[in-house]
């Protein structure tokens, strides 16, 4: 579904990622692991089209997306929940969700039931401004906003970073249930090894801007963790 080949990318003159190749198949949950600053978020931004690809290519459902704008990728079915949530602070929660419809491929004008069902706390906050929500609530809003367009591939960049434990549990539950439905593939950046081992189908470990290790959950041994992930 998503195929990244020999990708090289970065900010301005500085190259962050070198020779990255990875695949996400339909319905699969693929996890990106790695220490801080190795390029996980850079990879997510490059897949979404926010950063220019210097070399290599990004293919999605067989189509070449390497030079396509983020909007086109969104309308092709890629949903993005960025690190830091990036909700629209001056818009209401409801308006934030409605903007998720921009990328929907069935031309829907009403919010699909799905967004409410997975995040039951949101409807009560529809009238409040996005910027007035707590960090955890903003994260749920950003997640729901990405689900509104019913994406086939979801890019989740540290969805549980810096939010209260009860909401972390809610969000993990949502990720599990999306995996259970099997309609949406997920590319997940996440720090909690315990959680990714539970939910992931395939793993890539990034180190120094390249893929240092990849494999199935069973192969993710203590040794791998010690070598690439412990600080």
């Amino acid at each position: 579904m998503l195929a990244v080949q020999q990708l090289e990318s970065g900010y301005g003159e500085s190259v962050i990622l070198r020779d990255i190749s990875l695949r996400v198949r339909a319905g699969q949950v693929v996890c990106l692991l790695g220490r801080n600053g190795v390029g996980k978020t850079t990879l997510m931004k490059t897949v979404m089209g926010l950063l220019k690809v210097r070399k290599g290519e990004v293919r999605y459902n067989g189509a070449d997306m390497t030079r396509k704008a983020p909007g086109l990728r969104a309308r092709a079915g890629i949903g993005y929940v960025p690190q830091g949530r990036e909700i629209f602070p001056q818009l209401t929660v409801y308006e934030n969700l409605l903007l998720g419809l921009e990328a929907s491929r069935d031309g829907a004008v009403q919010l699909p039931e799905e967004a409410h069902r997975r995040f039951p706390v949101l409807p009560a906050m529809f009238g409040r401004r996005g910027g007035d929500l707590s960090g955890g609530q903003q994260q749920q809003l950003a997640f729901a906003r990405a689900l509104v367009s019913k994406p086939e591939l979801l890019l989740l960049d540290e969805p549980c970073e810096g939010i209260q434990p009860s909401i972390v549990d809610d969000i993990r539950e949502v990720i599990r249930s999306i995996k259970g439905d099997g309609r949406t593939a997920i590319l997940l950046v996440e720090q909690s090894l315990e959680f990714v081992k539970d939910v992931g189908d395939y793993f890539y470990v990034i180190d120094k801007g390249g893929i240092a290790w990849e494999g199935e959950p069973e192969a993710l041994t203590e040794e791998v963790v010690r070598q690439y992930l412990t600080v």
Partner: protein, 301 residues
Amino acid sequence: MELFVLQLFNGLSISSILLLVALGLAITFGLMKVINMAHGELIMIGAYATYLTQNLFISYMPAELFDWYFVLAVPVSFGIAFLIGMVLEAGLIRFLYGRPLDSLLATWGVGLVLQQLARTIFGAPNVAVKSPAWLDGGMVVMGGTLLPYKRLFIIALVIACLVAMYLYIYRSNEGRRMRAVMQNREMAACLGISTRRVDRMTFAIGSGIAGIAGCALTLLGPIGPSLGTYYIVDAFMVVVLGGVGKLVGTILGATGIGMFNTMFEYWTNASLGKVLVFVCIVAFLQWKPSGFVAMRTRSLD
């Protein structure tokens, strides 16, 4: 009492003119952060569009319909300024987003070109636009105070523009996209919004409203190629004083300047009154640099 009503009306009238002139800028500068020095020339274009509409009516329409040309002139000036704004955005402004100094110089240059263009087409002397007969005269209130219909019409036009802008920005799908792009361009793009299209539309609408302002200015006196230069400073003043990015702030800014201007002019004279208004504005901005209405939310940190 009579005097009070008259002064209040004068203040309101000046406020409405200031507001109309500044509304378009509230979009292009307030929302899009483009320092658009050609805003005055877009007003001038609206005024000449009204002049053209008038001439076309004189040449091609029966004389008894002449009075209605002004009803058509409002949408015509909006349309022409809208189109020129769209061309300007596509040809120049879009290369200058996030470069305030460059856009200041470039749009100033565009302003000069447009002024010269008007001189070439219509000639350097001012031209007169004849107001329709139904706007002559005025309403007499409280035994003797005359409120001219032209001034009342401009106040009504401003209110209509405000309502239309409010509905567009805060109630329509296009407006929601616009606000999303202005608040977080990257994320809006990631949700599938075409930011190019939104930028073009937003700038064009701001220009179109400047056109309507130009149309209204034809009611107040003759118009010439340098019409816009008289209003550009006032327009920026209103937007900056009101607080960049908020429609409510622009309304407050225009009302504040208009009211104080009338008051000071009554107490002193026209030029000293203007000086006092500027002093007040400078003092106020020292105290509150972000204007009357500042954006307040935790997520702007």
